[in-house]
Symmetry: C2
Subunit: 298 residues, 2 copies
């Protein structure tokens, strides 16, 4: 069984120009859940000045708490940058959060406005309060395969930062190729620095398809025991730094490949494609996913 973390409703919508109502977001998340998606990043408790698209995350979570259309198996999570964010998340009934850091200093400064060292101090406080409230914490690491400002990022540096994040107490680190530059050799070289059990249980891979290498990097990761991948239905969103290029790995492309290889995801691919077509209408534009255009082959 491969675990898929659907990031469309947060990472995806955050990078869209069109603002959706909270009711539409709720319906989007319910539809994903009904298609069998078990882990969904449903919102963020960040400053609405920086990310206006997520300003209504409290309403989204509050509404979903009473939803009849959300499967019980579905685990929702929210992005949380600091203690204030966590407090609102707790008020909203969130029981899993994700913190986010970077592997390169410049990206950390530009994205979260502090050094990597400072970000880890912040994480520590957040994790402490989260655990007191029985809230699970996942960690994101951006620019793990390259930084738009600094270029290449050394493998030893990335390994060190992943290990530091795990030591802080996150249950899983999502290793992100923020600008979609990774190739399979780089993926293999990074993953080979970890034990099999670490790869199986502690690491998730978050690839972008910016240069068409998304699924090749997934294959390299599968061969090295990775069991968890982040993806975005329709390929919604992506890093705004890669202009004109597609961003997030489309969930339906990922699921198509996994199922084609005899691996299970728990997701009904046909239903998932319907979700893409539905959200495309809400956004009034098509999304980059391949399988939603080409159809399933049986």
């Amino acid at each position: 069984m491969i675990s898929i973390v659907e990031v469309g409703p947060r990472d995806g919508l955050q990078n869209e120009k069109v603002f959706l109502s909270y009711q539409t977001k709720v319906a989007f998340i319910e539809k994903l859940s009904l298609a069998g998606v078990r882990r969904i990043e449903a919102g963020a408790f960040v400053s609405p000045k920086w990310v206006p698209q997520m300003a209504d995350s409290k309403k989204v979570f509050k509404t979903l708490q009473h939803s009849q259309k959300l499967r019980k198996k579905t685990q929702l999570s929210a992005l949380v940058p600091n203690l204030q964010g966590l407090e609102v998340a707790l008020e909203s009934g969130v029981n899993e959060i994700a913190i986010f850091g970077a592997c390169s200093e410049t990206f950390s400064q530009k994205n979260i406005n502090c050094s990597i060292k400072e970000s880890f101090k912040r994480f520590q406080e957040v994790i402490q309060l989260a655990k007191k409230n029985s809230v699970k914490v996942r960690g994101y690491l951006s620019t793990s395969f390259g930084c738009p400002y600094e270029g290449k990022v050394s493998l030893s540096r990335v390994e060190k930062i992943i290990r530091k994040m795990l030591e802080l107490g996150v249950y899983e680190v999502s290793v992100g190729d923020t600008i979609g530059v990774a190739t399979p050799k780089q993926v293999r070289n990074l993953l080979n620095r970890f034990e099999v059990s670490e790869r199986q249980k502690k690491l998730a891979m978050h690839f972008h398809d910016t240069r068409g290498t998304g699924l090749a990097n997934v294959l390299a990761s599968l061969d090295l025991d990775i069991k968890t991948f982040d993806s975005s239905v329709g390929g919604l969103g992506g890093c705004p730094y890669a202009k004109g290029a597609s961003g997030n790995l489309p969930t339906e492309d990922l699921v198509y490949m996994l199922h084609g290889m005899g691996l299970k995801s728990g997701i009904d691919l046909e239903k998932l494609i319907h979700v893409t077509h539905w959200i495309e209408k809400k956004l009034s534009h098509t999304l980059p996913a391949h399988v939603s255009k080409a159809g399933i082959f049986t």
Copy 2:
């Protein structure tokens, strides 16, 4: 060194609505050659009733014979369906041809208007005359991973047809995923039916990116000793049966991944991207390749 067979000027343009002049085609091929592409499918000697876009292939080849801008290392080839086609190819100074068959009966009937058995009789005549004239012959096999009419195609059948084609005397068989349905496990299962030396010297893989799995299938093939891949600059063309979906694997995406993995292709990626942007202008639309939009990362 990985050998790339550029199919944009034939397989690509053949599926374009816009008709380019033979001078533009010549310039296109020269630009590819100057970017370091060493093998280029430059035209086809098929009935202009069926493929009007290739009606001027004779002019293209004749002009290229005297081109100052074509590198000497560049091997051009032409698609040839039968003896008549071969005769025109010979008159045009072609010294490498490609014949094309299919792995499923219905596709063979619909695409080349005869059964697989009949097509092999035709191939035999063509190969005989080609060899008499010291013309190299390459073989294409369509629907090797799935057929739009018959669905799945058995591995043993595909293996048998590949071997038959090799026995006829083609120097290489290009194994085609015509409708872009293959996943890496299927690729591995097929390739494992051949010896290492066969995979290295006799097989080329021709993937489509219709469902986003193009480069993942390339990776699976690289791991199993494949040294030759077909691709199309910009992702030009593709199978017309997969409507709305991207078709041919973009050459720049392939080269980006190969170079990122430390493999050589002889191609200057920056120059290749310029060729995509140039042909996009001629066609008045953008092409699906990722790397041409996102840029190279160094």
